[in-house]
Symmetry: C2
Subunit: 186 residues, 2 copies
């Protein structure tokens, strides 16, 4: 796989808006963890905001809340078994990086690790905790973004529930039908 490069944080929507499962890493004191997450949405370009539902039952919930940081990593189809594995065990019992062959790498701005095998990684700081108690809803600011330059449209993994995933398929370019101002932020 191609090494990741930095790119502008407001462009994270390119990878997150299509709705893929992501692997969210965290670090608290001397422990790192990773969880699979499908309930997220882009919320703003600048600052680059992402909202994520992280259930209080997850080991990662407290690690992320206490540290105020995480990394959102984008896995592609070759990692689907790791994604399923990560989502079906707890970091309270298992070193998931080791068990599922995921390599933690140092991030630039946060202590949570990047995952080397993922196509893109978004370093995040907790921006707004006001809906955590009521909805487990964390609003993060992406403070640094890294992505592999190729492939341009990675084969991301999308969860439908029931143990069934749909992979990203055909790419359709409709740019010519857009008004210029609708493309100004991309």
């Amino acid at each position: 796989m191609t090494a990741k490069r930095d790119f502008p944080v407001h462009k994270a929507r390119r990878y997150l808006e299509p709705g893929p499962v992501v692997l969210v890493t965290s670090r608290w004191r001397d422990k790192a963890n990773v969880m699979a997450l499908g309930w997220h949405t882009v919320m703003e370009f600048s600052p680059s905001l992402v909202g994520c539902v992280i259930s209080v039952g997850n080991h990662s919930f407290h690690m992320i809340r206490k540290s105020g940081e995480c990394v959102i990593n984008l896995p592609t189809a070759t990692l689907i078994d790791a994604v399923v594995g990560v989502g079906n065990c707890s970091g309270a019992e298992v070193d998931k990086f080791e068990r599922f062959g995921l390599t933690p790498e140092d991030a630039s701005d946060v202590k949570a690790p990047l995952i080397k095998e993922c196509h893109a990684s978004f370093e995040c700081r907790l921006h707004d905790d006001s809906l955590i108690d009521k909805y487990n809803f964390f609003i993060f600011e992406i403070v640094r973004a890294h992505a592999a330059p190729t492939p341009k449209h990675p084969e991301t993994i999308h969860y439908t529930g029931g143990g069934v995933f749909v992979l990203a398929g055909d790419v359709v370019d409709k740019r010519a039908s857009f008004r210029p101002e609708m493309l100004s932020l991309d």
Copy 2:
């Protein structure tokens, strides 16, 4: 296309969690409107909650806020030109249903219309408006869900920005690798 049937509201995640572009309809007084939206996330199974970012610049923003209702409709690949069209003009100037060949149908529990040509439709009531002023973030409760029974995995449309879409592709069943409790809500 197959007619839609009612199904349990907590199963809406099956269609929304993969992250498709949706067409959100609204009605305020005697006017109906429709907008394209890609910034949404499932937030809870029961009540069935969905969070959506609807920019204050959209004509639909005020219609939805004032009425406290909308319908989230799921378009598939054959509707991609209608989706692009809807996203590139304003309901303040155009009757988008007529212009893009979308047929409004009466909903059961809300005044906003269902879109006949869409694979699924979720009738929503505004559940929490506390983040609207700060983030344009509406939390809706899905109060009634309708979906066509086939195809089981519709070819949904996912936006990457830049006028480029990715369509839902191959289906991968990993049910056998899931712990039973991870499937209990599906």
